[in-house]
Symmetry: C2
Subunit: 141 residues, 2 copies
C-alpha cells in the first residue's frame, strides 16, 4: 500500500472522516502516526494505547452491521510547526439506533510522511445535546 | 499580581493542580494563556470557551462548600517547540460524596511568559473505574 502524504493537519482529519464514513480500515489506519505515541479514547472511557488495539477496535466498528457516519465541525485549534491540536463537535449517525454528539480533541504530529493523527480523545457532549442542531452537517464524499 | 514564568509544560500542570487543591483562584487563572484560544471542557459536556467563563465556572468550583482535591498520573505526551500535549488519568476526591476518575487531555502553548495551559478536555473514565487503584496518588503540597 502506498503511504499517503498529508500536507496539513486538516488533510489528515478529512482523510480520517472519509475513511470512517466509507468503512475503509486501511485508509483509516493510514492516518495514524507510526513514529509517535498513539492514543484513542472512546466516549465510554475505553482507552486504546497502541496501533494494534486501535486497529482491532476500529476493525469491529467499521466491519459491524451498524454502519456509522460521522459529521464534524471545528470549534478551536492550536498550531505549531510539529504539533497541531483541533477541538471538534462530532455527530454520529447510523443505520440503527446508535447516535450521539461528541466533543473531540485531535492531536496531529508532523513526521517523515507529513502530518499524522497521534491522539483522539472523544467524550459525550451531554445527553440532551443530540436534539439540537448545533452540528453543521459536512458530508464528506 | 506578578506574572509567573513557567519554564516547562510540567511546571504549568503542577501549578494547575496545586492551585485547585489549595482552592486558589488567582493561581489557577495564572496558568491559562492570554495569548491563544482557550477551552475548558467539564466531564458533563459543558464547554467553556473564554477566560471569563473559565474564571466564573472555577470560581464556583473552588469557592464552594465541597472542597475538592485532584490527583493525576501522566499516561502519554507529545512535545513540540511551541505546543505540548499531555494525556492524564485524574482522580477527584472531596469532603463530600463527589468523586470520580477522569481522562484528561491538556494542551500547552509557549508564549511571552513561558508555557501556559490553552485547553483542558476532561471526560469520565467510566463508572466502574473509581473502584480500581489505577491512579497513583500524587500529593501536591
Amino acid at each position: 500500500m502506498k503511504t499517503p502524504i498529508f500536507a496539513t493537519p486538516e488533510d489528515v482529519e478529512i482523510a480520517f472522516y472519509e475513511a470512517v464514513n466509507r468503512g475503509n480500515l486501511n485508509d483509516f489506519l493510514a492516518v495514524w502516526t507510526e513514529e509517535e505515541e498513539v492514543l484513542c479514547l472512546h466516549p465510554n472511557g475505553t482507552l486504546l494505547g497502541t496501533l494494534e488495539s486501535i486497529r482491532e477496535s476500529w476493525r469491529e466498528i467499521l466491519g459491524g452491521a451498524v454502519k456509522i457516519r460521522l459529521h464534524f465541525r471545528r470549534i478551536a485549534y492550536w498550531r505549531g510547526s510539529l504539533i497541531a491540536v483541533h477541538h471538534l463537535l462530532e455527530e454520529l449517525q447510523s443505520n440503527q439506533e446508535a447516535s450521539g454528539v461528541f466533543r473531540v480533541t485531535h492531536v496531529f504530529m508532523r513526521g517523515a510522511y507529513g502530518w499524522r493523527l497521534a491522539c483522539r480523545h472523544t467524550s459525550s457532549a451531554g445527553s440532551d445535546f443530540a436534539m439540537r442542531q448545533d452540528v453543521e452537517k459536512r458530508t464528506l464524499h
